[in-house]
Amino acid sequence: MDRNERIGENTVNREDLIVKICGSAGDGSISATEILNRAVASMGYHIMNFDSFPAEIRGFGKSCGHTRISKNPVRTPGDKADCLVALDDGHSISELKNLKSNGIIIYDSLPPSYRDEDTAVAGYIEPGMIGYGVPLRELSTEATRSAKSRNLVSLGVIATLFNFDPDAFVRAISKRFSGKKESVRTAVLEAFRLGQIFTSEKISKRDAIDFERKAYPREGEYIIISGNESAAQGCLDAGIRLYAGYPITPATKIMEILAKKLPIQEGVVVQTEDEISAVGHVLGAGFSGTRSATATSGPGLCLMSECINLGVMAEIPMVIIDCQRGGPSTGLPTKTEQSDLRIALYGASGDSPRPVIAPTTVAECHSLAMAAFEISDAYQTPVILLLDFFLSNRIEDIVPDPEGSARWGRFPDSIAKPGESPYKRYRITPSGVSPRSMPGTPELLFTATGLEHTENGRPNYDAANHKTMTDKRYAKLDALRNAWSLPEPIGDAGELDVGVISWGSSAGSAIEAMEILRERGFRVGGWIPRLLMPLHEDALEAFAARCRCLVVTEMNHSGQFADVIERVVHRPILRIAKVYSEPMPSDDIVRIVLGELS
C-alpha cells in the first residue's frame, strides 16, 4: 500500500513528489539531485533529500539521490518513489522495487550498445508503470561532447514533464557551475535545454503530475543543508574554540566541516588517536573554560563514557554529539537507528546525571546544538546531543531560527567573581549549580577530581557528604527542567483516541502518521520532547491522561524510550519499536495503531 492509494488522492493535487535519480558513482546522480533541490526550493517548495549509499568504498558503486518535494513541510523522505531517473541500467534495475506501482521511469532509450532485455532497465518496467525513453546519452553528447551531462538532460526532462519553472533550474545549474568557464556553463545549460525540448516535442505525457509552474513565497532566508552541517554550524555559532574527534560514520562530516571553518574563527581542530582522547581533549578544554565539542557514533560513545562520567563528577561543561547508527558493536555504519538512547541517558558507573537532547529536524540540529552549549555551561555538565544516520545525512531547506538557542529556554550564568572568600568550587546551592572558576584567574584556585569531594573539592568518602553531593548533582537536572521551555503537545486538544510520543529523527514519521490517522477521523495528539533527560514528567503525565491509546514510536528493538515513558505514566503503552535500518515508515505506525484500535 503506497501513500497515494492509502490516502486515496493523486500526487498531483497534493504537490508531493518523490524523485530518485540513480546511477553508478560518477554519473552525477547526487549532483543532479542537489540541483533539483535548489531549483524547487527556490520556487518555495520544501524538500527532504536522503541519499542511499553503500558502506563499502567501491570504484563504481551505486549512487542514488532520493528527494521528496512538497508544498508542505516534509516530515519524512517517504517510502516509494513517484519517479525514477535511470542514469544507468544495472543499479537502476535494483531500484525499481522502490518505485510505486504506478511510478514513472525516465531511462536512456538509446543505450551505447545493443543490450539484452534483461540487462536494460526498460526490460523491467512493470505493467502499470510509465516509462519515458529519452536518448540521454545522445543529447548529452550533442550538448557537451560528453555522456557525463546525462544527469542535466534528465533534469530538463523532469522540469518539463512535471511543469516546474525552468528558469529556477537554469539559475540552479548556473550557480552549480559558477566556478567553471563560460563555455562549460553554456554547454551544461544546453544539455538541460535539449532535455526540455525533447520532452515537449517527443514525449506524450501519460502521467498526471503537474506542478503548474507554481511558486510559493517564503518567509526568511532559507538554506539547504544536512543535519550534520546544521549541527556543525550550531557549534560554530555557539563559539567553540576547540573540536576534537576521531573519524567515524556517520559523524565524520561534522569534523570535516569544522576542520575547514573553525581555524577561520581562531579555533583548533584535533584529530585524536581515539575517541577516548577526543573526549579527553574536550573535557580538558571545558575545564579550562573554553567551549568545545566532539561528535561520534555508538562505538565511540562507548569509549567516551568514562570521560563523560568524569565530566559529571567534576562538573565540567562539554558537548558530545552522538550520530547514532545501527548497533550493537560496529553494527551497521550506514544504517539509521535510535538505539543509543539508553547509553546516552545512563551509560556510566555510579549515579551519573547528564542532560540528553534530541533534535527532530535539520533546523533543530542547529538551535539545539547551541542550546546544548548553553546548558552545558549553565549547569556545568556534559550534554549529549542525539542525532542519527538519517538526521545527520538528510538534507532539508531550513530557515535558521532567529531565536537560536533561546527558543529552548534561558539559562543562568554561573561564573564566579574573584574575591569570593573562601572560594568553594562545589558550593552547595539550591539549584545545585556552584560558582565556576576559569583556570588562570588569581584567587579562585581549585582542584577538580573524579573522586567524591567536599564543597572545596577535596577528596572525601564520608557517607553524608556523598549523599549531599549526589543530591547536588541531581538538583542541577531539576534546575534545567525548570528553565527549559515546556514541551507543548501537538495535534487535537482534549480527549484523544490516540496519543503518539516520539523522539529524535523518527518524530517526523510519527507526525505524518498522526496526520493520516486524523484524516481517518480519529482524534490524535502528539508529545515530542527534545529534552529527554531530564524529562518533563508532569507534562508527560498530563498528556498521557488524555489518551485512550498511548503509543511510543522509535527506531530500536527494545523500546528504550518506551521504558522511560512507562516508568512515568504507569499504564500500558503501545510500543512501536523496530529496527528498520531505514527511516521509520509512517505507514507502519498507521497500520499498527489501526490494528490496536480495531
Binding site: G280, S288, G289, L445, P459
Partner: protein, 293 residues
C-alpha cells in the same frame, strides 16, 4: 585518605636541625607552590624528592601559581595536584595526557604540568603518549616511574623487571619491562630528561630545563616505592648506580641520546632537547592560512 591540618592537631616537637631546615625551606619559596594538604604518600616515598625538585624549579622560574595547572591520572602520583598550589585536575586512569592537552590547547596561556606513574603513562595510558609527542604540545609530562603499582598495593607494572615477584606475579613477572627513555626518544619527543628521586638536588636543573622548553617535555624520574618494592628500585641498590649525563653529550643529537638510553647505565640530566614548532605555533600558521583563503 587522611584529611590533615585539622586545627586540634597537637604541635609536633621539632629538632633544632629540622627547624633550620624548615627555615631554609621557607626562604626558598617552594612553599608558595604547596597547598595546605599534606601529601598522603608513605614516609620515605621518592615522590617527596620529586615534589621538592618541581617546586624549587617553579619558584626559581617565578611562575605565578594561578597560571599553573597540575593534571594527573590515577595512582599514587594521581594525588599530586591536591598537594600543590595552582589549578588542578585529578582525572581518571590513563587519560592524563588527552585532558592536559585539551587544557593547553584551549588556553595556551596556562602552564600545564601533567604527572603520572608508570602504570598510568605506559600501561592504560600508553596509547596517548606518542600522539601528545607528535603534536609537540607545550606541556611537561613528569612520569614517576617506580616499577610497581603502589596505590593498589604492589602489582606488576610495565616497567617491572621480568621475573620479579609481585602481588599479581607470584611466580615471577613473565613480561619484559619497557624502556621508557627509548620509548620517548623513538616516538620523537622534542625534549627528554631523566632523573632519580634519590638525588633530589640534581632534579632542579632538570625541571627548570623541562619547564623552560617550548614543546612537549618528557621527564622520567625513577623513584623507589619503599612499601611495595624491596628488590628492584631501592635506595640501597640504586645509591651508587646513577651518573650525570656527560657534559660532552650533544643534547640535540638523537643518536647519542639513544646510545645513552640503551647503554643499560642510569643517567640523569637532559638527554635530548630540540627546538621545534609547537602545536600552538603550527596552529597560528594554520589559522593565518585559513583566513587568507
Amino acid at each position: 585518605m587522611n584529611q590533615a591540618n585539622t586545627p586540634d592537631q597537637p604541635k609536633p616537637i621539632i629538632h633544632a636541625g629540622v627547624s633550620r631546615f624548615l627555615e631554609d625551606v621557607q626562604k626558598s619559596g617552594i612553599l608558595n607552590y604547596r597547598s595546605e594538604s599534606l601529601p598522603t604518600w608513605c614516609p620515605g616515598c621518592g615522590y617527596y624528592g620529586i615534589t621538592h625538585g618541581i617546586t624549587q624549579a617553579l619558584s626559581e622560574l617565578e611562575i605565578p601559581s594561578h597560571e599553573l595547572v597540575f593534571v594527573s591520572g590515577i595512582g599514587c602520583a594521581g594525588r599530586y595536584p591536591f598537594f600543590m598550589k595552582g589549578y588542578g585536575f585529578h582525572t581518571i586512569h590513563g587519560r592524563t595526557l588527552p585532558i592536559a592537552s585539551g587544557i593547553k590547547m584551549a588556553n595556551p596561556r596556562l602552564r600545564v604540568i601533567a604527572v603520572g606513574g608508570d602504570g598510568d603513562g605506559f600501561a592504560i595510558g600508553g596509547g596517548h603518549l606518542p600522539h601528545a609527542i607528535r603534536r609537540n604540545i607545550d606541556l611537561t609530562y613528569v612520569v614517576f616511574d617506580n616499577g610497581i603499582y603502589g596505590l593498589t598495593k604492589g602489582q606488576a607494572s610495565p616497567t617491572t623487571p621480568q621475573g620479579q615477584i609481585t602481588a599479581t606475579t607470584p611466580y615471577g613477572n613473565p613480561e619484559q619491562p619497557l624502556n621508557p627513555t627509548m620509548l620517548g626518544l623513538s616516538y620523537g619527543t622534542s625534549f627528554l630528561a631523566t632523573g632519580y628521586a634519590g638525588l633530589p638536588h640534581e632534579l632542579l636543573p632538570i625541571f627548570k630545563a623541562a619547564f623552560s622548553h617550548r614543546g612537549f617535555s618528557l621527564v622520567i624520574i625513577t623513584t623507589p616505592c619503599v612499601t611495595f618494592d624491596s628488590v628492584n628500585i631501592t635506595y640501597d641498590r640504586f645509591r651508587h648506580l646513577w651518573h650525570p649525563i656527560p657534559a660532552s653529550h650533544p643534547v640535540s643529537d638523537i643518536r647519542s641520546a639513544m646510545m645513552l638510553a640503551m647503554s643499560g647505565e642510569h643517567y640523569y640530566g637532559v638527554m635530548f632537547s630540540e627546538d621545534r614548532p609547537t602545536w600552538d605555533d603550527r596552529w597560528e600558521t594554520i589559522q593565518r592560512n585559513a583566513r587568507k583563503k
